[in-house]
Amino acid sequence: MPVDVAAPVIANRALSDDYNVLALAAPPIAAQAAPGQFVMVKASNGADPLLRRPFSIFEVLRDQQGSPTGVSILSKRIGVSTRLIYDARPGQTVACLGPLGRPFTVVDSPGEAWMVAGGVGLAAFATLAEALRARRVATTLFYGARTGRELFYLDFFRALGVELVLTTEDGSVGEAGRVVAPLDRLLASRPSSSRVMLYACGPEGMLAATARVASKHSRPCQVSVERIMGCGLGGCYSCVVPMKSDTGGFHHVRSCISGPVLAADQIVWD
């Protein structure tokens, strides 16, 4: 059941001029959070900016006894609200509503998990990787960014035993180009008897390309979509995604309550 916490900022770590990780004290949210869920965050009081913004729950924070104490969000500064999140300081409180949405379905060993992240889409995968590795699922992260300086938390995933396949658009780290290229290649090299679940989160074009590659290789794929969202609870109907309907047309589902995790082969991609 979602709760609204006036969450004190524990720490705010700038990863670059645009990216930061904001750690928030919110035990009741942390205690309920499942991989793929999100929170609705508002870093200012008052009416401007007005609405909350949705963020994947990036990390679930724990104390030394392992009890959940809070959550962190990975943010990229693109507007007024994300600037407030970039500039938030310890001691300040941030309104944090969650956990919200339907989580990823976590596969079991001997299945494999291939996570595909683009840019800030990495945010969906820290808690998923922990859940997968706790089940000893062989896990690979395909992770693309514009440049090597925007590939974050690599050591976190390595420490979990996640295999990394990195791409950058400028070729500064890993393979030059888009992350879907090595995904396509490596899927082609896998025997069809192997069980691989794809998970994807990132820009819409990357999600659509991942869905095409998944379909081409007949692999199931769960995508976490990002939409402009008003409420996060199914009230406003802003965040819809067109899904295939039985009649051959489409119907709009609200990504806040039917998602944000959706089956890639059910989405009507542009």
């Binding site: 309104a95 008003g230 199914g234 709009h252």
Partner: protein, 308 residues
Amino acid sequence: MDLSVTIGSLRLKNPLIAASGCFGYGVEYADVVDLSSLGAIVSKGLFLREREGHAAPRIVETPAGMLNAIGLQGIGARRFVEEKLPELRARGATTIVNVCGTTLDEYVEVSRILSDAEGVAAIELNISCPNIKEGGIQFGCSLTGTFDVVSAVRKATRLPLIPKLTPNVTDVASFARASEDAGADAVSLVNTFLAMVIDVETRRPKVSNVVGGLSGPAIRPIAVRMVHECRQLVKIPIIGMGGIADARDALEFMIAGANAVQVGTANFVDPFIWSKLLDGMTSYLERHQIARIGDLVGTVNATTIGRA
């Protein structure tokens, strides 16, 4: 302390109503709000048939507000009766249905279906949605259109009938009067203001429908003025709305002449807002030693100061 109010034959335990299009079908909020603690909820707009609405993006934030162009996506009247009303009844919600139509006949038929269903407390007649091509605001922007559709639905239902008025007219009070003349039990106002936001980098509108309806605190002073104007001209109850975000805002509408208020956009920001609004209104009544909230309605002292 008596927070109850009456809207025609409808008695509400308090004046707080969840606005149409801002609260899903009510059931979405059952986990976070005791639905029976609200004065009422208003369903999302209901046509005869299901509608998919506009493509995303459907909203964009604006200074102290938001613009939406959802396009009245919805499950239609019959599915609402089958799939949503039973849970609303079970949870003790007072349910007002928001009735839409593209033709006069559709308004009448949808009203009939919902009047026959168990657990519908009143009909809010949506003649003011700015986001659909046919119907809606076409009725709400013409005095004869308003009179005709309210009259026709009046003949089809005994439930309290509440036309929801658009602010996108020169003189909203004349539309309240036309509604009253046609037999409405109350009016609700305001729906959203037709508006537009353009991305200057791409030169594209920021919602797929090009234009949308503006809501939120940005519109509140205009909405308060419109409620005040309607209060001068009609005797039927008024349900006021437009940018209410705290108890003082709600009280302002009531002092201007609203018998009850609806809250929409602020519920997106804070789904737990309802108890805070009730607490704030109660403490105001205590502080001002007002026994019944109904005594506050229309008490603005609008005597002009000085001479022009």
